[in-house]
């Protein structure tokens, strides 16, 4: 970690959330939407983008207001700001695609909770000027989206034989229904984490 060094560059701010602090694979935060909506790549993408939008906007606003908000009401303010942007996203998604809205259901509104949990972004925003704050949040958002896509794609390919709604293997493919059911969500995320852990371990033993 780069905590001791004086200044991290904007690029590092961005990469932080994508790789080193990836909310899905490294921090394992925001599990609820991660698992619930990733039955298809499309849903995963929608959810990821929505979350990224909320993260970026709220980080920006909080960062702008950071010098005005007394610390006593900081948390309350953050919650209100995040909830606001989630409400906005809720309406925007309805306006863009009702199908996506139906598929994501109440989990759009649950982004609120998720973003509070991803709250380190907000804590970060409260201490940083808008640009790094937004970049950091954007990185988190992208990282989250990548995580969701990694899940959504696997589940859609195995569970339905499709990717983003496009059939991959033809009609004779037997879908593995379990993948789009709740246990499949747990298994796929667990599988990804295992893969990373195994890979990390291998790398470690190769180096050592």
């Amino acid at each position: 970690m780069t905590a001791s060094t004086k200044q991290i560059t904007n690029m590092e701010q961005l990469l932080e959330g994508i790789w080193k602090q990836n909310p899905v694979f490294v921090m394992t935060l925001g599990m609820c939407p991660t698992l619930a909506v990733t039955v298809s790549g499309f849903n995963a993408l929608g959810m990821g983008v929505a979350t990224a939008f909320v993260l970026v906007c709220s980080a920006g606003l909080i960062s702008l207001l950071r010098n005005f908000i007394p610390k006593e009401v900081r948390i309350a303010t953050y919650i209100v700001i995040i909830a606001t942007f989630v409400t906005l996203v809720d309406y925007i998604i309805q306006a863009v695609s009702l199908a996506l809205y139906d598929a994501l259901g109440a989990f759009i509104q649950l982004i609120v909770v998720n973003c509070i949990i991803l709250g380190r972004a907000e804590a970060h925003a409260a201490k940083n000027p808008p640009l790094p704050a937004v970049l950091n949040a954007f990185g988190m958002g992208i990282g989250f989206t990548i995580g969701l896509l990694a899940l959504g794609c696997v589940r859609e390919i195995l569970g339905a034989g499709k990717l983003f709604g496009v059939s991959l293997f033809g009609a004779s493919f037997q879908p593995w229904v379990v993948m789009v059911l709740p246990p499949g969500g747990f298994f796929v995320l667990g599988g990804w984490l295992l893969l990373f852990a195994w890979w990390a371990k291998r790398k470690e033993s190769n180096h050592g």
Binding site: I69, V73, L88, K127, P175, V177
Partner: protein
């Protein structure tokens, strides 16, 4: 974690007036944002909903030229506005190019195996029967529960499903009922799918519940609907 101690607000005690003011300010900004976006997206959302609805209803009634939304409340039917009030049933009257009533569509919902199954059904006043269904929403097990869409024999149940009202006009003369596979005897019965009984039953129950509510309110006012009001013809 990268702890930057650059922009931390002064840590002295803040007066409560300032707190309230800050919260008020933030709330106002947020409120304004929400209202603005709400206003901005409202037409798009409405248009979206309309498209989805029309797509659904048109799938049932391909000839429909116009679709009019109504609410059937306990005290009569009226054109729909906003979300339906509690206890009212939303239905859609379809008219042909000449403004003649073709059929009526409404939604029924019941809990299936995994979650709620919502179906749109088409009702034809002339035969007092349902002539088709379209699944609006379901999360049933793929490969089993979705037979309610793919199983031709099951879908055929809804071609002329008897929903005639009893003489007292208060309920159906025969409850719509899902029966075990292969034992359908009457026009008001639905032949279940083996292996997907719960889902098939949910469809039957959803339709029955909806029809039992809707038809007693709809039939007495049917004449009003026969000609499309909006067209003025």
């Amino acid at each position: 974690m990268s702890e930057h101690r650059t922009g931390i607000p002064p840590a002295d005690i803040t007066g409560s007036g300032r707190l309230v003011a800050t919260l008020g300010l933030v709330t106002m900004i947020c409120g304004a944002l929400i209202v603005a976006v709400w206003q901005w997206t409202l037409p798009a959302i409405a248009a979206n909903k309309k498209v989805v609805l029309e797509r659904g209803v048109k799938a049932l009634v391909p000839d429909a030229a116009r679709i009019v939304e109504y609410d059937a409340a306990a005290d009569g039917i009226r054109p729909a506005q906003g979300d339906p009030a509690a206890g009212a049933v939303r239905f859609y009257a379809t008219y042909d190019g000449e403004g003649r009533l073709l059929a009526i569509a409404a939604e029924g919902a019941a809990r299936g195996y995994a979650d709620v199954v919502r179906v749109l059904y088409g009702y034809r006043p002339a035969c007092e029967c349902i002539f088709g269904i379209r699944v609006v929403q379901m999360k049933e097990t793929p490969g089993i529960g979705d037979k309610i869409i793919t199983d031709a024999a099951f879908v055929a149940n809804f071609d002329g499903l008897d929903v005639s009202l009893a003489p007292d006009m208060k309920s159906l003369s025969n409850e719509v009922k899902t029966v075990k596979h292969g034992s359908k005897k009457f026009g008001w019965e639905i032949d279940a799918i083996t292996g997907a009984t719960i889902t098939s039953k949910a469809v039957g129950r959803g339709i029955n519940d909806s029809v039992q509510m809707l038809l007693p309110r709809l039939r007495p006012n049917l004449e009003e609907l026969k000609r499309e009001k909006g067209s003025g013809k």
